[in-house]
Every structure is written in C-alpha cells, then in structure tokens.
C-alpha cells in the first residue's frame, strides 16, 4: 500500500469537487436565467388569460442564439437533468472522502470512479470526467499496482478467464459413481435452491408491484405538470412526453400568476417559527421532566400524556374563539389589524408528544455525565445546551423534520382563521389551502388540470429534496419514533 498514491487520489478528488461544484453552479444559474426568460400571457384586468398559454409561440434570444419554444423546453429540461445527475454525485463524494480511510479502498472504488466519470460526461462536465478517469488510474495503481498501460493489457485476459469460468460451471455433474446418500443430499440441495429462488422471485415481484403503485402517482404528477392544457385533458392521455414537450412555463405561471411563491413563503415562515419555538419549549420541558426532581413531576407528566388522547378538533373550536375578537384579537378584526402569522404559529410552538419523545432520549443519557458536569462547575442550563442537546441531537433532528412536515401539511387551522379574513386572509394561505382552494377554473369553466398538478408538484418537490438530503436520518428517526412512542 502506497500512502502517497492514496494522498494523491484524495487531492484529485478534492479538485474534482471544485469542478463539480462549478458545474452545478453553472447549471443552476443557467436554469434561473432561462426560467426567468420564459414568457407569460399578458395580464388583462388584473388577471392572466391562461387559455392562450399553450398557443403562445414566443421566441427567445440567448447568447446570440434564437430559440423557439420547443428548443427552450429542451434546454431547460437538459439543464435540470444535468443538475439532478450531478448533485448526488457531489454530495455522495463529499461524505465519502471525509470519512475515507486507506483501508477502504478496493477495486470497487476504482470502478465506481469510472461510472461517475461516465455520468460526468453525460452531463457535459468534461473536466470532472477527465479528473475522475485520472483518479481511477491512480486508484488502480494503488490497489493492483498496475500502471495505466498494464491495466489495459490486463483487461482482455481477465474477461477471457471470466467466460471460461462460466463455461466450466455449466458442465453437468455426473451422479453415477456416488452412493445413494450423497445423491439424496445433492438432490435435496437442488430442491432447496429451486424453492429458494422461487421464493426470492415472488418476494421481489411483490415488492416491485407495490413500488410501482407507490411511484405511479409521483410519475403521473410530474408528467402532467409538464403537459400543456390540451395534453392534460386528452381522453387518452400520453404516458410519456418528449423533453421538447415539457412546458416548464407551467411552474412559472403557478409561482407568479397564481401566487404560489407567496404561499410557499408563508408556509416557510410558519414552519420555521413554529419549529424553532417547538424545539425550544420541548427541549426545556423535556429536560425538566427528565432531570429535575420536583414534587408532582410524575403526576404532571401523566396529565400531559393523557391529553394526548383527546382529538385535536376539540382544541380547535375554543382556540378559534381564543384567537378571534373576543380573545387575543389576532384574527377577525377589521382589515389591517390582524396577525394571521401569530395565530398560525403560537398555538403550535409546543407539542406534548415531542416532549414525551425527547424525555425518553434525555433519560437514556447516563446520570454520571450530569454528576461529572456538576463537579466541573457546569450550570444546569449549560449542561443542557452543551451536553444533553448534542447527545440527543438525532432525536431533535427527527422532531424538527416531523414538525416541518406537519406545517407543510397544515390545512384546517389556517383555513379556519384565514377564512374569516376574506380577501385579506387569502394572502396568508398556506400551500395546502392554496392547493385546495385556488380556483384553477377559467371563466369559460375549464379546469386547468396541468396547472393544478404543477402546483401539487411544486409543493411536493421541496419535501422530497429535504428527504433525499437527509434520507438516512429521517428514515431511522421515523422508525424509532414509532418504536418509542
């Protein structure tokens, strides 16, 4: 093992990152520029005539080139595709290199570099591809000791040997000179193998079927969101479309004309503040229940647990009174005097089930850590922030995710309180309300399905992005949250 080669490979990897990163930055800014250029129908009397959207034939001028609608669609699709391909590449490698040790390098690492280089090539990132190929040779040298030339020479014999091996295996075994017992063992092994293969086959078949049922709505959503109006209302809808037919302008319409940008902003505000508040209040409360000894602790805690059984609808009725005119006056006042955000955030800045969940993980932190900190002159609060919170951070992360998801899904409470505000209240819709209650219907009675579904996709995609970024943590956290609850 040559340490120098390992170091060299790591260095190349780091340089590759820089180029990967530059490439992605280019893709994204290209996307933003092109997306910004997309032309929308004109606004007449304060509203947009969406019917003519699919009949518009704008021409775009970009870098001295003239592009028509189809070419524009193609380019945007490609840019998005490139981003989607190279982003995971970047993220995966960042993680790997930081934890990689000299012992983990094997021929698999080298071949994966090759695959990554091919992906780079597909996304027109020639520099990264070249660097990765170079890195592959360094790794090959590191693992096998071959130089590039020897490597190419060694490929042919290796392939030949592989095929030879396969042919050898196919030779029929001769059972003639075996005694009865061995034959029966041989047969039972064969029977076992067949039943095993059949079982595995059925398992996979079952799983694939379920996976298709799960995936189809997502596929259909993305597909429809890119169709034009007549494509979305065809009696025999197409099951796929070509990349030049992808109307990215739908998303622009949804974001600007239908104001989903605003609703997404509202939702993000509510999600951020309610999550921040929830984390603070629940961490403090869970700490008190887990570590501080006081009279009536168990009683208070069991009261809290019992209220978890009561359905949320019961609260909503009174809370509606509480936030309205006769209560805090956050909603239902004259125009301009309402605090919709406060009314949407404050009731949700704490949660009994999260207190319960957090207390469980706090309780698992050994008492001796607390004692050690006390001896070191660490105050309770400092112990909480410097020791408990970092150790329980997986749980806190899970809570954050759960809470953000539930804000993203909030429908009834925002609907009730923005409902009393009429036009003004509409500006404070969260995305779920907007999705359900925006009129995607034109004056002539047409339902703009493609736009409705594009809005749905727009709401779904951020969640999916968050999910794929933190996939492992989220899935483990959710699994455990169930186990502990």
């Amino acid at each position: 093992m040559d340490k120098k080669l390992f170091k060299k490979s790591n260095k190349i990897e780091k340089i590759t990152f820089i180029f990967d990163f530059i490439a992605i930055a280019i893709y994204i800014s290209l996307f933003l520029i092109l997306f910004g250029m997309l032309e929308l129908p004109e606004i007449v009397d304060g509203s947009m005539n969406l019917d003519i959207l699919q009949f518009m034939e704008p021409t775009y001028y970009f870098l001295n080139a003239t592009l028509d609608k189809l070419e524009m669609n193609t380019i945007i699709s490609l840019v998005i595709l490139f981003t989607l391909v190279s982003l995971p590449l970047l993220l995966i490698n960042i993680k790997k290199v930081r934890t990689r040790t000299i012992y983990e390098i094997d021929s698999y690492t080298a071949s994966s570099k090759f695959v990554q280089a091919v992906i780079n090539l597909l996304s027109l990132n020639v520099v990264s591809a070249g660097l990765r190929i170079y890195n592959m040779f360094v790794l090959v040298k590191f693992v096998k000791g071959y130089s590039a030339k020897e490597f190419f020479k060694s490929i042919f014999p290796a392939v030949k040997a592989y095929f030879k091996k396969i042919f050898k295996k196919k030779k029929v075994e001769d059972l003639g000179d075996l005694d009865e017992y061995s034959v029966s063992i041989k047969q039972s092994i064969r029977r076992q193998n067949t039943s095993f293969i059949i079982r595995i086959l059925f398992t996979y078949l079952f799983l694939i079927t379920v996976a298709i049922v799960i995936i189809v709505p997502f596929y259909w959503m993305v597909l429809t969101s890119l169709k034009d109006f007549s494509g979305a209302t065809l009696a025999n809808p197409k099951l796929y479309i070509s990349i030049s037919q992808m109307n990215w302008v739908n998303y622009k319409v949804v974001l600007t004309a239908l104001e989903f940008g605003l609703y997404i902003k509202n939702t993000v505000i509510v999600a951020l503040f309610s999550t921040g508040g929830t984390i603070i209040t629940t961490v403090l409360a869970a700490y008190a229940f887990a570590r501080i000894e006081f009279k009536g602790r168990e009683v208070l805690f069991s009261i809290l647990i019992m209220t978890m059984m009561i359905p949320g609808e019961l609260y909503i009725i009174t809370n509606f009174i509480t936030v309205s005119k006769n209560g805090f006056g956050w909603v239902g006042m004259a125009t301009g005097e309402n605090n919709y955000f406060i009314a949407m955030i404050i009731p949700f800045v704490t949660s009994i089930s999260y207190i319960f969940f957090l207390r469980q993980s706090f309780k698992q932190i050994p008492e001796s850590l607390y004692k050690a900190a006390r001896v070191d002159g660490c105050s309770d609060f400092k112990f909480l922030t410097r020791v408990m919170v970092p150790i329980a951070s997986p749980t806190i992360f899970t809570i954050t995710i759960l809470n953000v998801f539930s804000s993203w899904n909030a429908y009834i409470w925002p609907r009730i309180i923005t409902g009393v505000g009429g036009q003004e209240g509409q500006k404070y819709w969260l995305i779920s309300n907007a999705l359900r209650d925006t009129a995607f219907v034109q004056d002539n009675g047409r339902v703009m399905y493609n736009l409705q579904i594009a809005a749905s996709a727009l709401v779904t995609v951020p969640l999916l992005v968050v999910f794929f970024l933190f996939r492992k943590y989220i899935m483990n956290g959710i699994g455990r949250s169930g186990t502990k609850g």
């Binding site: 079952f206 799983l207 379920v210 996976a211 799960i214 995936i215 189809v216 709505p217 259909w220 429809t224 065809l234 809808p237 603070i280 209040t281 629940t282 403090l284 409360a285 008190a288 006081f294 809290l304 209220t307 059984m309 009561i310 359905p311 609808e313 019961l314 609260y315 009725i317 009174t318 009174i321 509480t322 006769n326 239902g332 404050i346 704490t350 207190i355 309770d380 993203w408 899904n409 429908y411 009834i412 409902g419 995305i431 779920s432 999705l435 359900r436 579904i453 809005a455 749905s456 709401v459 779904t460 969640l463 999916l464 989220i474 899935m475 959710i478 699994g479 169930g482 186990t483 609850g485």
Partner: protein, 360 residues
C-alpha cells in the same frame, strides 16, 4: 504557490484561534460576573438560587411549554365542556340565551347525516367513518406487515425499496390527493385508461366526479388513505423486525420450521406490541380522517352532482366552525366530545383485547 497556500492556511488558523479566544474571554467575563454576584449574595445571605427548591427550577424550564399548553390545550378542554351546555352561543357578541344539559348532544345525534343517514344523501358521517376505519386499517396493517417482512428477507435493493416505500410519508396530503383525483378522472384519467387496456368498458365509468356511485368513490378514498399511510407503518414494523434477536430465527431454521410458520409464530408474536400500538394509533388516525377527503372531493366531501356524500365525523364537526351562526360552536363541541368518547371506548376495548393476545 505552495508558500501561498501555507500562508493562507496559517492565516485562517489564526483567525479561527482569535475567534475562539474572543468567545472564551466573553465567557470568562460572564462567569466572573456570575461568581461575583454569587459571592455578594452569599455574603448577605441572599442567595436563593442555591436554596431553590426543585419545583421552582422546574417551573423555569417548564413555563414556556406550560403557558402555551394551558392556553391552547388545557383551556380548550375545559371550555368545550362549557360550550356544550350553552344555548345559542354567539362568538361575535359573546352572549348566550341560556343553558342546556344535553341539548347540543341531541342536536348532533339526531341530526340527519351524523348518525342517521340523511334522506337526501343516504349517507351519514359516522357510517362513512366506520367504513373507512374498518376497511382501511386492517388492510394497511396487514399489507405493511407483509411488505416489511418481505423487505427484511432481501438484501440487494433493500434500501432502494425502503426509500421508495417511504416516499408517501414525505408528501403533502392535499397535493397527492389532487393527483389521485386527477388519475381517477372519468375522461382522460390514468386509471380508466389502464382499465380500458385490459378490456373494461370505461365509458362513463366515474370515480370521483358526477356520475360516480358511493362505493366507487369510497374505493378511491380508501385506496388513497392506505397508499398514504403505508409508509409510516412499514418503517415502524421494519425497525422492530430488525430488532428481533437473530437467535430465534436460527433456532427455528434448525427445527426446519417453514417460512410461513416462522412469520406467524415468531415474527408476528415478537413484534405484537408494535402491531398493537400501530393498530391503536391508526384506528384513531383513521377516525380523524379529513385531509384526504378534502383533497379528493372538496370541502363538502362529495363529488359534484352526486346524491351521496363521504363526509367524515371530523368534517361534520368542522362545518360548524365558522363562527357566524349562533350555537354552531356548541354543536361542534358536542360533536368532538362524541368523537373523543368513541376513540376512548375503542382504545379501551383494544387494550382489553390486547391484554389477552399481545405477547410482551
């Protein structure tokens, strides 16, 4: 070049050090202040902090949560008992005309379309909800069990499948509901198109639009709620199946136990506490079904132009929360107390049953 890199590295290290020094010094100053105050208080025998009883300290930590909880959780519970005895409570003027002990409950129970099927729709909220609960929960729990057992038995592509099955969890209920409604459209819906591929006559075969019939709409609703709720159950089951000690399986393998029996005699009993927990929570969850119905059929809970509706209990309650009609909030409170009672009874029954059947 190398020099330059070295120098920049040094520079950043220096910056890092001085930032750390800065914070260290701030902490030092703060600690010093604290110490001085502490000394002063000690001297004058004023230091209550060290004599603080536990509950006072606890109160400091608990107060943020408790304040919010008491306003938005405890008070509503108390207040809803007050609301149900009010007659004609008007929330704008904050007035009532009198008290009634059971009046609001009677209004709810005898209301057409709560328990008794309404004459013009032929369906009621309670019946709808019960149908949803008793069909969707068993199917989804069983399906989740099979899927997680299947997942646990494979190696290649396991985390790929796991990720896919988890996707419905990270979606917006309304958004995917709209997609489902679109997929089940009469003309141009994916489902009808697929059905016609296999030779079903789909002309006028409506699911979620005018022309649909009750059971078809119900099918879509149940299908969607199973689709959406599967992810969480699979995750939880898989986590607990993976937590089972391998020795049980090894013992079973040596005894030549067939796979089916291993599943029913080892896997299921060992995770039965989890199954029971999931059963309870998903029954409660299904009782509170709301968002999926709204997504598929709109806030009225009925496809336009049909003579039935798919209102759930929660939906029935929410239609009274608009604050305009006198007395409507009391009816809503009565409805939600009834819902609470149903959930409580079901939970208790399930607990009784589980005591006999769940292996702890």
């Amino acid at each position: 070049m190398a020099d330059f890199i070295k120098n920049t590295k040094k520079f950043f290290a220096k910056v890092k050090q001085s930032i750390k020094n800065f914070f260290w010094n701030i902490r030092r100053i703060l600690n010093n202040g604290k110490r001085r105050i502490g000394k002063f208080l000690d001297k004058h025998n004023l230091n209550f902090a060290s004599k603080f009883p536990g509950w006072a300290k606890a109160l400091v930590y608990l107060s943020p949560a408790l304040i919010v909880l008491s306003i938005f959780t405890f008070w509503p519970i108390i207040n809803s008992f007050a609301l149900v005895v009010y007659e004609n409570y008007n929330m704008t003027s904050n007035t009532i005309t009198g008290y009634t002990l059971f009046g609001n409950f009677i209004t709810v129970i005898t209301d057409e379309s709560f328990i008794v099927p309404a004459s013009h729709t032929g369906s009621s909220a309670v019946i709808n909800t019960l149908i949803i609960v008793f069909i969707s929960v068993p199917i989804s729990v069983l399906l989740a069990l099979f899927i997680s057992a299947a997942l646990n038995s494979i190696k290649p592509l396991k985390s790929f499948f796991q990720t896919i099955f988890f996707l419905p969890y990270v979606t917006n209920t309304i958004a995917i509901g709209l997609v489902f409604a679109y997929m089940f459209k009469t003309d141009g819906g994916l489902i009808n198109q697929l059905l016609s591929f296999v030779g079903v006559d789909t002309a006028g075969l409506s699911w979620v639009e005018s022309g649909a019939v009750y059971w078809r709409s119900m099918f879509v609703l149940i299908f969607y709620s199973i689709w959406a709720s599967l992810a969480f159950k699979i995750m939880v089951f898989l986590t607990s199946i993976q937590g089972i000690d391998k020795q049980y399986y090894q013992a079973a393998a040596i005894d030549a136990t067939p796979k089916g029996r291993i599943f029913t005699k080892i896997t299921v009993p060992l995770i039965s506490p989890m199954i029971f927990y999931i059963l309870v929570t998903s029954v409660i969850g299904a009782f509170k079904i709301y968002n999926s119905i709204v997504a598929l059929f709109g806030v009225t809970g009925a496809p336009s132009g049909v003579d039935y509706n798919l209102q759930s209990i929660v939906m029935y309650i929410y239609q009274f929360i608009d604050g305009s009609n006198a007395g409507s909030l009391s009816v809503a409170a009565a409805g939600s107390l009834i819902l609470f009672a149903i959930i409580l009874v079901l939970t208790l029954v399930q607990m009784q049953v589980s005591k006999k059947r769940v292996h702890y």
